[in-house]
Symmetry: C2
Subunit: 239 residues, 2 copies
């Protein structure tokens, strides 16, 4: 921390990369952009870009998110630092240190392919392979992280529109975890956690065309779940 010469070292570039998730047609999707230039021209990559001189990484990530999704109001969206990737060879051009973020979107706004990215597309998570740079790894880390956070935080509501049914909330868990959950137990668990969801007084909505209309809920003020809502098959993780 005691070097004054700004150019004493080979400069580092600092970028942000975003793993932006949404749930569409009952499947987890991630936002990818197609690279227009070398390296990795034509390959898909996570959206991202350089941190500007007067920005923090968080500010840069939010700006990129707005640019790539074309959303008007990005201020309320959940953005969270994942980790920083700094392996010397991760970008063939120069030393690039990238701060990765995860973001969760309620529904999939089709408008994208904003400013600089050649093309942007929502891709099913399972099909998002062979990405540019070390983005396969970043994406896998991001998926792992949100899966874990669903267990002990109220993050799942970030995937839902402002008003949602408990069935939709359950689908979030089932989609991210790739499991099925018992509906009665899920319902009780969610309602027993104070501040997780709040009932919308008169609301009800048909979900699948058929069936009983479901009551509507809003996200509550709580941020953490106590006790946690554990994945069913989390036995093998002790070894």
């Amino acid at each position: 921390m005691d070097g004054y010469d700004k150019y004493a070292f080979e400069p580092f570039a600092v970028t942000v990369d975003l793993a932006v998730f949404t749930i569409r047609d009952g499947a987890l999707h991630v936002l990818l952009v197609e690279r227009g230039q070398e390296p990795y021209a034509g390959r898909w990559a996570l959206p991202g870009g350089f941190v500007r001189p007067e920005e923090s990484a968080e500010t840069a990530a939010r700006r990129e998110l707005a640019e790539e999704t074309g959303l008007q109001d990005v201020s309320g969206l959940h953005l969270e630092q994942l980790r920083t990737y700094s392996e010397p060879g991760r970008d063939p051009r120069m030393r690039v240190v990238s701060v990765a973020f995860t973001a969760l979107l309620p529904d999939a706004p089709e408008a994208h392919g904003g400013s600089d990215a050649a093309r942007a597309r929502w891709t099913p998570y399972d099909a998002a392979r062979n990405l540019a740079f070390d983005h396969d790894r970043i994406l896998a880390d991001a998926h792992e992280r949100i899966g874990a956070k669903l267990e002990y935080t109220c993050l799942a509501t970030r995937f839902c529109p402002p008003e949602f049914t408990l069935g939709e909330l359950q689908q979030v868990y089932e989609t991210v975890w790739g499991t099925t959950l018992d509906r009665p137990n899920f319902r009780r668990k969610v309602l027993a956690t104070p501040g997780f969801v709040e009932a919308v007084p008169g609301g009800a909505r048909l979900t699948g065309g058929r069936g009983k209309p479901a009551a509507l809920y809003r996200a509550g003020p709580a941020t953490t779940l106590h006790p946690p809502l554990l994945r069913p098959t989390s036995e093998g993780r002790t070894a």
Copy 2:
């Protein structure tokens, strides 16, 4: 990600900062160094330094850890990325993006004040205030993180020597969380988690001078705790 001119932007410096914890005399301690130069000359700070051109942040963190603690074998120690701090004004000299790490040491090796740091000292966590830069914040984040990780990982054994008693392991939890735990229940919980600890066949040790000698255990292969070992007073965190 598409800029080729390495000097197009004002350069970023990339550093690592370390929050190195240990337990000493039943209290949580953190390793601090006294700054010899401006800015913040004479103030205490977290150890850290520049990432070198051919290093990853992890490599740099491990190198700094070895230098600051004077330990021979730093390879087995637990080092974990915390998050990256990138606010534009956090270093008055230039743009410094810092990747923060946490490290846990079994006991407190007194040998320190290694290479570049003016002085290094183990400081009780509660007395580590008014640090240089944004290190108060980093330290608080690190403490919060390790407290949370004790709940659902086997991290606590990293604070212990190779062979330890269950009483010592319990002290780790009590020290980091600032609570007391019921000994019989703690014991059952730990032993019921497969792979958390392994009994050392013939071992026993006197702990407090008096009392029954305690059986010795080693850290097991498990890394996560299922079900988790929750803090007692974690009620208020739902709101």
